[in-house]
């Protein structure tokens, strides 16, 4: 996948949001990329409306590098 951007999280941020509800009936699902970065999708960043997780709107963006199967 080229030019797909994702939000970069620290380890602490990942612990703060993993599995938490970011919008009604929608839950964060943090994954690791091929460089062992914790990342979430643009969709989660854009759709997050439930406090206190609005800060994900400001996450730094990196290019998505998927883990090989």
């Amino acid at each position: 996948m080229n030019n797909i951007l994702v939000g970069l999280l620290t380890e602490i941020q990942k612990e703060q949001i993993q599995g938490k509800e970011f919008a009604k009936d929608s839950f964060f699902y943090v994954i690791k990329d091929a460089n062992n970065n914790w990342v979430i999708s643009i969709q989660e960043m854009e759709q997050a409306t439930i406090p206190p997780y609005e800060w994900v709107h400001e996450l730094p963006l990196i290019e998505y590098n998927p883990k090989p199967l």
Binding site: D25, S26, F27, F28, Y29, I31, I40, S41, E44
Partner: protein, 276 residues
């Protein structure tokens, strides 16, 4: 006044008499739009064998889960039309919800149905799953669960790498070239030695060699990805406007009835102006 079997009048707009399953669903999902309500009701009546397209076959009762993805939100899209109290979907990651249904991102978006082929006792050799895809992308699993190493899998890919692919309680797969990935795709197993994929009511492959059933996975079926023993793989970026899980039950989801099933689902999509 909304009620069991009563006619609904909304702003003097005459609507059909609502089936109890329709009432349950729209109440749970919070659906108030008359167009959506009428579409759901026609879907229910047709699936139950009481409608204009189907007056004899009860597809509805043979289903474990029917997901119409109507309402435009994760809350509305989590409900199971067959029974609003069972197999509600939990959405994780980046799934987009709108009037066209649910759309994956190919990265981490999925919906867990919590339906386990093993634990919910779907028959080993008498089952099926279906999805209605509106997009022609070329990656991912649209509905799937598996043991490690793709053994004992139940999944359906409408189009990945240029092929429709399925496994049905098996460790072997059936695949057929697929140019678009758009439409109603149904994967069925009717016996221990064959698997079959239908596109828009027409059989696209009946595999009768290396197609034996093996065992059922305990992994729950996930939408928009493969759930491989709790690990998410093969994320899909398709837009899905319907999904279902059912037992074939020989005379119901038979080969001869597949065009009727397609007509019902296609009518539903047309009623919502999202047909492909």
């Amino acid at each position: 006044m909304l009620g069991l079997g009563l006619g609904l009048q909304l702003n003097s707009y005459p609507l059909f008499v609502l089936d109890p399953a329709t009432v349950s669903f729209i109440t749970a999902a919070g659906i108030t739009d008359p167009t959506q309500i009428n579409a759901i009701n026609r879907l229910v009546l047709n699936l139950k064998g009481k409608g204009n397209l189907n007056s004899s076959i009860d597809f509805f009762s043979a289903s474990y889960a029917i997901y119409p993805f109507v309402g435009g939100s994760a809350t509305a899209h989590k409900y199971n039309l067959r029974d609003v109290n069972t197999f509600l979907i939990t959405y994780g990651g980046g799934v987009t919800h709108n009037s066209n249904g649910i759309t994956g991102n190919g990265i981490n978006g999925f919906g867990d149905t919590f339906f386990s082929p093993l634990n919910n006792n779907i028959p080993l050799d008498d089952l099926g799953i279906s999805v209605y895809s509106r997009t022609s992308t070329n990656i991912g699993v649209e509905l799937g669960g598996s043991d490690a190493g793709l053994t004992n899998s139940l999944y359906l890919q409408t189009r990945a790498g240029g092929f429709s692919v399925m496994q049905a309680n098996s460790s072997t797969f059936a695949a057929v070239a697929e140019p678009t990935g758009q439409g109603l795709f149904v994967a069925v197993r009717r016996n221990s030695t064959s698997m079959q994929i239908y596109k828009n009511g027409i059989s696209s492959i009946l595999k009768t060699s290396s197609a034996n059933s093996s065992s059922r996975t305990a992994s729950t079926l996930n939408l928009l990805r493969q759930n491989t023993a709790g690990v998410g793989t093969s994320y899909s970026d398709k837009n899905l406007a319907f999904a279902s899980i059912f037992t074939v039950t020989s005379s119901i989801y038979s080969d001869a009835k597949m065009p009727t099933y397609y007509d019902i689902i296609q009518q539903f999509q047309t009623d919502l102006n999202r047909q492909v």
